[in-house]
């Protein structure tokens, strides 16, 4: 009886849906500088969303805001109409643009996650490493890996927690063509399993290959949010058109 009650409560929280993600007039600033300005968007659970835009547009800050790492000045962001909480953050995983790896070897970096989250065993860890092309890297010092290997380790680590929302900040920026394909396949697979994926990229071809949904940003604002095909075929704004064609935005 007691057991039954506990099970019920546990199930209720662990199965809580955290999509769609809705930003409503969301503003984020560091000190007096406005980094994100009155942003609105809606992201559905089945989506792969590519956030694109020039350097400094605010893409990384947007991903960090979705992960609850920044202070929201105005407006709000909700997950299935819940405000941010540790519970929600635990169901997300963010792969940073410059991954932070623990000062340990590859395996210990993975085991650290298993120490915090439940139900991650040795097989899951190895499986995740192999998927990301890091089989046999166990004893290597994580911070001595190459840039691309670091990024893949960071993704392997993120996959361990089976997140409902996977946030990838330029996940393939440093990857060779083989690894690029490997990671893109993982992204598609995870999405098929029901993970909502939001990534940033400067690679328009990649955005076309992967994304179903495009958020185009410039100077801290969302200029357009469109279904991918529509965006690339018929961008609404001049800025988007110029950006796709590779012209400099001022």
């Amino acid at each position: 009886m007691l057991n039954g009650t506990c099970m019920y409560k546990k199930d209720k929280t662990s199965q809580k849906k955290i999509t769609p993600i809705v930003a409503d007039n969301l503003s984020v600033s560091f000190g007096s500088v406005n980094i994100l300005n009155k942003i609105n968007f809606k992201i559905h659970d089945k989506d792969i969303t590519a956030v694109i835009g020039p350097n400094g547009a605010g893409k990384s800050i947007l991903l960090q805001t979705i992960n609850g790492l920044t202070n929201i000045q105005k407006g709000k962001i909700t997950f299935n109409s819940f405000l941010h909480s540790d519970d929600i953050r635990k169901k997300q995983a963010l792969v940073f643009q410059n991954p932070t790896l623990l000062r340990r070897n590859v395996l210990s970096n993975m085991e650290f996650i298993a120490n915090i989250y439940k139900n991650i065993d040795k097989n899951i860890i190895q499986n995740s490493l192999v998927r990301c092309g890091l089989g046999g890297y166990d004893q290597k010092s994580a911070r001595l890996l190459s840039g691309g290997e670091k990024q893949r380790l960071s993704l392997a680590r993120a996959l361990l927690t089976k997140p409902s929302i996977l946030l990838l900040d330029e996940p393939t920026a440093n990857l060779d063509p083989f690894s690029l394909k490997l990671i893109e396949d993982i992204i598609l697979e995870e999405n098929k399993k029901g993970t909502c994926i939001i990534l940033t990229t400067h690679d328009m071809a990649q955005a076309k290959r992967l994304a179903t949904n495009i958020i185009f940003m410039n100077k801290g604002e969302v200029i357009e949010q469109k279904n991918s095909k529509t965006f690339f075929n018929k961008p609404e704004t001049n800025e988007a058109l110029k950006y796709i064609k590779g012209e400099i935005l001022l």
Partner: protein, 237 residues
């Protein structure tokens, strides 16, 4: 003083070391006891305090850090004098009767090395906690696990701090000579013996201890550098 006297003293010094002279080893053991215990107590106090200062943001935190930083350079004789005034018979803690005992020496050395442990630990832990901050927030790492990770991942740096504290304690003379008094069989340690025997002209014992002290300093530094290099090679610092 001619060269012969020095050579003769050196000869005798080496003999003292080789024959494991009893009075020499008594001094050696007390030195390690006093410095070892003060180091242990300073670590028990300084490591948690340094960690706390690194990760907790409270009013007056910077002032406390500046205070400990300044105390790293305290002149040992001044510390000795202050401890003397406190534990001497007419001092506030005179009733303890610890003047001219190893206990007083341990207290003096703790005052000298605790600030080193606190300041350097705070620096090290603050650096690694900044490095891990975003990742740990994103992963929702509980506070106690985060602290364990900082200390574990900074263990090589922290070990070098402990060795530095030991180096300062074992080689320090000004404080322990004032509160210890260099009493034979009771409070004579290497440094105080060197200081007093040299002034009495008993060069061989002073020299023997000098050689041992140099050797200890050498080993401590060798360990320090080896640990640092090894950790750097793996990018574990």
């Amino acid at each position: 003083m001619n060269m012969n006297i020095i050579l003769e003293a050196l000869n005798k010094a080496i003999e003292l070391v080789i024959t494991t002279d009893e009075s020499l080893f008594e001094i050696l053991i007390l030195s390690f006891k006093v410095s070892g215990i003060s180091l242990l107590l300073s670590c028990l106090l300084g490591l948690p305090l340094g960690t706390l200062l690194a990760i907790k943001n409270f009013w007056g935190r910077n002032s406390v850090l500046i205070l400990f930083n300044t105390m790293m350079g305290l002149p040992p004789v001044v510390v000795g004098l202050v401890v003397y005034l406190i534990v001497s018979r007419s001092g506030p803690l005179g009733w303890l009767g610890i003047l001219y005992t190893p206990t007083a020496m341990i207290i003096a050395q703790m005052i000298l090395i605790t600030p080193i442990i606190v300041s350097l630990t705070a620096q090290i832990v603050e650096e690694i906690s900044q490095e891990y901050k975003n990742l740990f927030t994103s992963l929702v790492v509980p506070a106690h696990k985060a602290i364990m990770a900082y200390l574990y991942d900074a263990r090589y740096s922290i070990l070098t701090v402990i060795l530095a504290g030991f180096g300062r304690a074992i080689s320090e003379v000004g404080a322990v000579i004032i509160v210890g008094g260099n009493i034979d069989h009771l409070t004579r340690v290497m440094t105080t013996t060197i200081a007093l025997e040299t002034s009495k002209g008993n060069l061989s014992l002073a020299l023997a201890l000098g050689i041992i002290l140099l050797f200890i300093a050498l080993i401590t530094n060798f360990l320090l550098i080896t640990i640092k290099m090894n950790a750097k090679r793996h990018m574990y610092v």
